[in-house]
């Protein structure tokens, strides 16, 4: 009886999955596609990275649903845990504020790319639709001794050569990353005395640089101090802010304030005059 039931369930499983899995697929699949679209169309790299991490977690759930228990866990640990965090580190290193430039260098390239993507997608889906994928065995038999044990048995017998080459690849990648990011110090660091002598020889700004905002009405670090003629002096802002272009100019603010004050007083005076006339 139980064998009959089992045979019946396998014959059912030959054509479709359970309703629960279908429900899970449609809900999580939608979220995964939205996450992928956000990865492509978000302006800032950090948002893209977070959306991609979400998509990867959903893919891990799909792996688990497909009977790939080991791969599902590895997906969470390696992809979302290690690779995406590496991406976030690099995004922080390169600068979070560095948004993509939206100017097109090749005319119409964006629309052509979208068109190409659409055509490619239609081609792929048509290929899958035309393929005869009637076979559906399920992993019950392959996973009977445990998913991890089954994978291990394959890796260490049939795919052992590929596995060893993978080790060589990982070592090469680690060495390559070190070589690419390492910078040798070719000359020794200059001493304070040498720096002072160099400054005297160059004869440019001998005393220490002026502090920010000392001549102005504000004293925040990003506000340039004003010279006697009212123009801002870039020397008073530190080099990092100067390079980023994060200097606030307040040279015109005093004049604007004065203008606003004059206008307000004029309005009030005008009103008072009118009131006096009305009183007469």
């Amino acid at each position: 009886m139980s064998a009959q039931l089992a045979a019946h369930s396998t014959s059912l499983a030959a054509y479709s999955t359970s309703t629960g899995e279908a429900f899970q697929f449609w809900i999580l699949g939608t979220v995964a596609v939205i996450g992928a679209l956000c990865t492509v169309f978000m302006k800032k790299a950090v948002h893209s990275a977070l959306c991609l991490a979400g998509t990867m977690i959903i893919l891990a759930v799909f792996y688990l649903a497909n009977g790939a228990y080991f791969l599902g866990i590895v997906q969470v640990v390696v992809y979302t845990g290690a690779i995406m965090m590496l991406f976030l580190f690099v995004v922080m290193l390169v600068g979070v504020t560095a948004a993509d430039s939206l100017k097109e260098t090749i005319k119409g390239q964006r629309w052509l790319a979208l068109l190409c993507g659409l055509g490619f997608g239609i081609l792929l889906c048509a290929g899958i639709g035309n393929a005869s994928l009637s076979e559906f065995n399920g992993l019950a038999q392959a996973n009977s001794g445990g998913n991890v044990e089954g994978l291990a048995a394959l890796i260490f017998t049939k795919y052992v050569f590929a596995f060893e080459i993978t080790g060589a690849l990982l070592i090469t990648a680690a060495v390559g990353a070190m070589v690419l990011t390492h910078r040798e110090r070719t000359e020794r660091a200059k001493t304070q005395r040498e720096l002072a002598e160099e400054r005297v020889r160059a004869n440019k700004q001998l005393p220490p640089l002026p502090a920010p905002g000392v001549y102005a009405r504000h004293n925040a670090v990003d506000i340039a101090g004003l010279l006697p003629d009212g123009t801002p002096s870039e020397l008073t802002v530190i080099k990092t802010l100067r390079d980023r272009g994060q200097i606030r100019d307040v040279s015109n603010e005093a004049i604007k304030d004065l203008k606003a004050l004059e206008q307000r007083s004029e309005e009030r005076l005008g009103r008072e005059e009118r009131e006096e006339e009305a009183a007469k």
């Binding site: 790939a68 560095a98 993509d100 899958i128 559906f136």
Partner: protein, 99 residues
């Protein structure tokens, strides 16, 4: 539900990733789109593995993950050194091979 739907989802994700590579010009985002394409391939492999009832597809997906990890390490190192020399992560600026 027909399990072929997993293949359609994988195709869709791959297409989105490929379009992203063509559209975006921030090198980091382009790289993320490549990761998305690799993940879509993995999903297809896992779905095929279930359809055929053996674990070979999962092994291939596992190797893809290892290669992707190695690729990410080298690629991000290249992006960092590129950013150091050009102060920009845009792929348009890296039009010359020399630094």
């Amino acid at each position: 539900m027909n399990p072929v739907n997993y293949l359609y989802l994988a195709a869709l994700l791959f297409t989105i990733g490929a379009t992203g590579v063509l559209i975006r010009r921030n090198a980091i985002v382009v790289f993320m789109c490549i990761e998305l394409m690799l993940n879509a391939c993995n999903l297809a492999f896992v779905a095929f593995s279930r359809m055929h009832g053996n674990l070979d597809g999962q092994i291939i997906a596992f190797f893809t993950m290892v290669v992707a990890a190695a690729e990410v390490v080298v690629g991000l190192a290249i992006i960092v050194s590129l950013f150091r020399s050009r102060h920009s992560a845009s792929v348009d600026d890296a039009s010359l091979m020399k630094l």
